[in-house]
């Protein structure tokens, strides 16, 4: 059952796990932000990612834009999508039963996935001749350059988000709304706008991650599902609503995924990830750095 890989394979695996972990963290932090704000899980999060990847793909296929250039485009498009989702759907189920809260976004996810399949067929697509491609050597370990660029960029985006939340006035208003809705409203914060903003920013995070993923990952309608499940695991592990928690948990999950594949069997790498989710929510429901 268990196989011990040679050390150089192990080192390479861990490094690529860490690189992927940064991307996972950025996807998960969007989810975490929204949950922290209003205790709603966006079950269409993976589909948002998928749409961002398709945006990058079509920008490349139709206008020859490299995925790196379409990062702002993807971020803006997803910001709008998040804002609209809040205004059109979430606002109406906020005080509703749990069932409505879950199935509102769950249905949206199914709808978006089916719409992508309807419009763009279930074919696997890939951006060819991207600007960054090929392997790169880090400390004698060979990894893909797109992965390095993506993880670096995701780390930067993560830093920007953290700065925005903790240092700017709007960010602090967002944090205040997350902590106590009523008190924030009494202090003159427009909480409805904060909710919409939270959805916009949370979705824009996925937009950025999606644009970078598009430069090296296959793009197909179901691609979001896998990332979404991993994002739930990361958010649960890091603590729902905790931004630094997402980063730590993203790295852990990235490495666990690779190690599960190396030590047990590639087919079981996600089983390892899901088992961690179950273990975490049962033993430490608030996650590693969570407040709740």
């Amino acid at each position: 059952m268990f196989t011990v890989p040679p050390p150089e394979v192990l080192a390479q695996g861990i490094l690529s796990g860490i690189l992927m972990g940064f991307v996972y963290a950025l996807i998960a932090v969007g989810l975490s932000l929204i949950f922290g704000l209003m205790e709603i899980v966006n079950f269409a999060h993976g589909e948002f990612l998928m749409l961002s990847m398709y945006t990058a793909f079509w920008a490349w296929a139709l206008f020859g834009l490299d995925p790196l250039l379409s990062v702002p485009l993807c971020a803006a498009a997803l910001f709008l999508l998040g804002w609209l989702t809040y205004a059109g759907i979430i606002r109406r189920v906020l005080g509703g039963p749990m069932l409505a809260q879950i199935f509102a976004t769950f249905g949206l996810g199914i709808f978006l996935r089916a719409a992508a399949q309807f419009l763009w067929t279930p074919d696997f697509r890939q951006v060819g001749r991207a600007w960054v491609q090929g392997p790169v050597n880090i400390l004698g370990i060979s990894v893909g350059l797109p992965q390095v660029v993506a993880s670096g960029a995701c780390l930067v985006a993560f830093g920007l988000l953290y700065w925005f939340i903790t240092k700017t006035e709007t960010g602090m208003a967002l944090e205040a709304t997350a902590e106590d809705r009523q008190a924030a409203a009494l202090m003159g914060i427009n909480t409805a706008r904060m909710f919409a903003l939270g959805w916009g920013i949370g979705s824009a995070c996925v937009g950025v991650a999606g644009a970078f993923l598009a430069s090296f990952f296959y793009i197909f309608p179901q691609v979001g599902f896998l990332f979404a499940l991993i994002a739930y695991v990361i958010v649960a592990l890091g603590g729902f609503g905790s931004i630094p928690g997402s980063l730590v948990a993203g790295l852990i999950i990235g490495v666990v995924e690779v190690l599960g594949g190396l030590f047990i069997a590639p087919a079981f790498k996600y089983v390892a990830v899901y088992l961690i989710y179950l273990l975490i929510v049962l033993v430490r429901p608030q996650g590693l750095l969570g407040k709740f």
Partner: protein, 342 residues
């Protein structure tokens, strides 16, 4: 009270009472008609296709009804119900192919396995609330599917074929005509409806709804939350399991992608939610509308590749959640009340 007032009272009272009596009979008459229609269906429709469609409507209605017991009445939203469906389908089939046990005993054994599994999953997971529980059930479903694909003893990804036998109720196989399958699933579904109906009206149903609407309040009046959630899950798992065994005997071929997929778990929820969760007739209404709809779109838009049925499912699911969380049955009920001013 003056005589005129008394007279007025009697005048307004009398016709109302008469009308209420007639109205109280309406559901009974409708139920009788529905049952008659259901019993006559395979006699009227003799071609295999409509019979197959009706069988699948009943099969999915049964799954949705079973899910409804836990999610609709008790408020615990599981997105991994395919686990029980597949567990029983595999148990009864394996017992048949390896040691030659009768499929009916297999059905019971499989149901026992599913109930045991539901307790094993439920006991730890019922400590989780709402979203956490829903995600945990997705994770468990994915784990089970991965394990089934990689477990060679049960056929792995290749799946498992059941041997052909001569038509007989005893061995649960009918090759020449589909109508016995129809009556078997109709019986199973009716049993499931009966149990749901009993639950709705007895103490158990009130416990379930109390847990759904306010767990703290339910606990404070002495309802053991975990225990009754487990009861709800065990009952619904048993019915999902029976449906799984039926599916195995009907199709005679199993593989992890057809009995364990997330899409099956999702379909079960979609039918119940669109029809109306927490209502007795919601799952049947949902299945009777959506299963033929899915067939129709496949015929007219060509194959599953276009995913038109999923497009409609997703759109409806969101629309129902946003505008009418009690589903089509809730909508009809509200309309009925407005129309007749109950």
């Amino acid at each position: 009270m003056t005589t005129t007032e008394q007279f007025e009272a009697v005048k307004t009272e009398a016709p109302r009472r008469a009308r209420t009596f007639a109205r109280a009979d309406v559901p009974t008459i409708l139920l009788g008609l529905l049952l008659l229609l259901a019993l006559l269906f395979p006699i009227v429709y003799r071609l295999p296709y409509p019979r197959d469609l009706a069988i699948r409507v009943l099969l999915y209605a049964m799954l949705a009804q079973a899910w409804n017991i836990l999610a609709g009445y008790c408020g615990q939203i599981s997105l991994g119900y395919a686990v029980f469906f597949g567990a029983d389908a595999y148990t009864s089939s394996i017992l048949q192919t390896t040691i030659g046990w009768n499929p009916w005993i297999g059905l019971l054994m499989g149901a026992a396995v599913a109930v045991l599994l539901s307790l094993l999953i439920g006991y730890p997971c019922f400590r989780l609330r709402g979203h956490y529980f829903a995600i945990a059930t997705i994770a468990i479903g994915e784990i089970v599917q991965t394990l089934a694909i990689n477990w060679d003893f049960i056929g792995g990804a290749r799946g498992l074929s059941l041997p052909f036998r001569k038509d007989s109720l005893l061995v649960f196989q009918f090759q020449t005509s589909k109508y016995p399958y129809y009556y078997i699933i109709l019986t199973l579904f009716a049993l499931c409806m009966l149990v749901s109906w009993r639950i709705e009206r007895t103490r158990l149903g009130f416990y379930f709804r109390a847990i759904r609407d306010d767990p703290e309040a339910a606990q404070s009046v002495g309802i053991s939350i975990t225990r009754y959630k487990l009861v709800a899950m065990a009952i619904s798992a048993a019915f999902v399991a029976a449906a799984g065994s039926f599916y195995a005997q009907y199709v005679l071929y199993l593989d992890p992608d057809s009995v364990f997929p997330l899409s099956l778990s999702i379909l079960i929820c979609v039918l119940a939610v669109v029809g109306g969760t927490g209502t007795l007739w919601g799952p049947l209404v949902g299945a009777a509308l959506m299963v033929p709809l899915s067939e129709y779109t496949r015929i007219h838009f060509g194959g599953t590749g276009r995913a038109v049925d999923l497009l409609i499912y997703g759109g409806l699911l969101t629309a129902v959640a946003v505008f009418q969380p009690s589903g089509l049955v809730g909508l009809a009920r509200a309309w009925w009340r407005r129309r007749w001013r109950f």
